[in-house]
Amino acid sequence: MTQQRDWNALSDEEFRRIAAEFFETHVPKHLKFLSRRPRWAEVSEWYMTMSRHGWLCPAWPQEWGGMGLSQSKALVYMEELERSGAPRVMDQGLMNIGPLLIAHGNEEQRRRFLPKIISGEHLWCQGYSEPNAGSDLASLRTEARLEGDEFVINGQKIWTSVAFDATHMFALVRTDKTVKKQAGISFLLIDMQQPGITVRPIRNIAGHEELCEVFLDNVRTPRANLVGELNAGWTIAKALLGFERIWSGSPRQSTLALLRLESLARASGKIDDPAFVDKYTQVAMDVLDSASAYERFAQIMRTGGSFGVEVSMLKIWATETCQRVTELMVEAAGDLGTLLGEVDVNGEPIDILYPFLDCRAFTIYGGSSQVQRNILAKLVLDLPA
């Protein structure tokens, strides 16, 4: 059933062609380029289509049902997935906890959890941030106490994406309060379908409910669900896949925003206003330069090279550029820029405010722009603490 192929034997170009064709053929038309994150019920069919064809888990080894893609091929996969307009599925299992269990879990955990991610039975969410542990994540306080063979967990997680559709959560919890904050954190797998779990969606400024608060009140998980050693959770959580670090700085979102800005400029006639064209050209060139910088790192990855935290300059520039594009869109829209939802611009329906509001989050999640700057200052520019 699952097609086993040595994808890495193909050239990147050849694989790109095959990936583009796969997504073109299989992504359901009505779900392409949604301007919101769909619920599981809407996208489960697409998820299962990928699963059936063996295309669900690009970076997993083939023995676990993945495609076994190299970092560079996984990047091509992501680029083509994005280009196809495919909707975002419940992807914490396949993108995050799956690879993490393959790297840091034990054999029993892999056997128990990986197949259920592929079958869509287990849908994961990520329980990292807390109300008082955002940029300073290591100060998290949700506590897990060992009682016999079980951890008993109490506390609160926040900014958990799509927790309402998740069956499981992987979480960082405090297991030792007497040591340096990073040294007392453990990594636990938690079944969400039990008493004591309360999920409350949080409406964001774009009017969508994707983020959640998750309350944990005497929630239980077996000791077998501890990933890695006790109190070793911080190190495990910090290890990211190579392609994820570059992916968060890809120009895809700013490119999409620029295309929307172009549509607005044409439909509204702003394209003939020299004052607008000046500003437009500036942001357009910022987007192109973002793509150049991304390609530079992608090329290093393709040729088997490696890079360090300097790659986080990509995320700073890509996300802040995306924001500037959407700011210009609202400004260029003038009076239309005050209207919610799709508005009629000389016969063309364009949502002006959504991109602006949506991309406020980009410079916050995954390490805020300011945290990225702190990291670059210390580790790349070698500035003192």
Partner: protein, 381 residues
């Protein structure tokens, strides 16, 4: 002979290393200060060293005595020279060499390009007039047909590398369209005066009063496409100037970072303050963007992408480099505080070189405008 990408990368690394070594040993800020306001605006002894290293010949074809290498090689040498503020005599001559190479006069190439490669006669370009600007066609100089060749009259301004040049590539209006001509520095009717740039290097003003140009010195005759060699060379030189600018900004930022690590105020190194750290990171981001676009531009020039794409990538490159260089030059002064404002400290030297490079061959605004005209609002990403 074709070489593998790994071998090519290795060659470029070796070239970079030897240029970096040359700059480490030869950078001389004291000498640079002493030469300010003096002709020819560079150190003749250093120029001879550069000639011996063969760098003037990197882009010159092998049959004309050069190394026949590409922009990737030229770019790394200029980056390193830029770090030591040592690129001034090289760039303007390279620019002229590119016009000569793209022009159609083969005999003249055989005469001029070997002399560029061996440093015996450096050329410069007179292409702008009046208030300057990026439009190579905005000129009034005339090329009048004469018995054997043409006679040139006009005034050329903003001529980099004019002092010490053996001759000039000069653009002019001929009856059939724009043409490009070679004018020997000693030609009758030619006089050169100087204006002084921000870094106190000379900028030539050529006065051409009925300067006779024999037929053999017509680089490209007047015609509808007569400026094509110049326009192509302008794009290439803009990319090479961006390479030098990258070196200048790297050296300037390193200077500031070193200072931030050691300068103590309020009982701490000032580099520990987040406001300054974030400012420094923003400069680093600009530097890395410049490097990325420069990589793209160099690759496209070496692949000879043609007259549709070449000016676009050249404008992207020069716009980013000009903006980033100016910003880093300015902010590096601020990061130093008062010491950065003094003439005896090097920060000002980098700022002034950045100012010259930023404006030369079109500043960021000029290149953004040109990019907008070339793409007409349809930026396909």
């Amino acid at each position: 002979m074709a070489i593998s990408p790994e071998e090519a990368a290795e060659q470029i690394n070796m070239l970079r290393e030897s240029a970096a070594d040359f700059v480490r040993r030869g950078a001389d800020m004291k000498g640079l200060r002493e030469r300010r306001g003096q002709l020819p605006g560079y150190d003749a002894a250093m120029l001879r060293h550069i000639v011996e290293l063969g760098w003037f010949g990197i882009l010159v074809p092998e049959q004309q005595g050069g190394l026949g290498l590409g922009f990737a090689e030229m770019s790394v040498v200029l980056q390193e020279l830029g770090k030591g503020l040592m690129a001034e005599p090289v760039l303007p001559a390279l620019f002229a060499g590119r016009v000569i190479q793209h022009a159609s006069n083969e005999a003249l190439k055989e005469r001029l390009l070997p002399a560029l490669a061996d440093g015996s006669a450096l050329p410069a370009v007179g292409w702008q007039e009046g208030l300057g600007g990026l439009d190579a066609r905005a000129i009034e100089a005339r090329a009048q047909p004469a018995a054997s060749g043409v006679v040139l009259s006009g005034r050329k301004r903003f001529v980099a590398g004019a002092a010490g040049a053996a001759g000039f590539v000069v653009s002019a209006n001929a009856p059939d369209g724009y043409g490009v001509y070679w004018v020997d520095a000693k030609a009758p009717g030619l006089s050169v005066q100087y204006e002084w740039r921000a870094d106190e290097t000379p900028s030539g003003v050529l006065e051409l009063k009925e300067v006779p140009v024999p037929s053999r010195d017509v680089l490209g005759p007047g015609g509808p496409r007569g400026l094509a060699p110049l326009e192509r060379a302008l794009d290439e030189a803009a990319v090479l100037a961006s390479a030098e600018m990258l070196g200048v900004m790297e050296a300037a930022l390193q200077l500031a970072l070193g200072y931030m690590r050691t300068r103590v105020q309020f009982g701490k190194p000032i580099g520990s303050f987040q406001a300054l750290q974030h400012k420094a990171v923003d400069l680093y981001v600009q530097q890395e963007l410049t490097r990325a676009v420069l990589d793209d531009a160099v690759r496209e020039l070496d692949a000879d992408v043609g007259p549709q794409e070449r000016p676009k990538v050249a404008s992207r490159c020069k716009a980013r480099a000009s903006d980033a260089g100016m910003r880093i030059g300015r902010e590096v002064i601020q990061l130093h505080g008062a010491i950065g404002y003094t003439d005896e400290y090097d920060a000002g030297l980098y700022l002034k070189r950045a100012m010259v490079l930023s404006g030369w061959l079109g500043n960021a605004t000029a290149h953004r405008r040109r990019f907008a005209e070339l793409t007409r609002g349809a930026v396909t990403v």
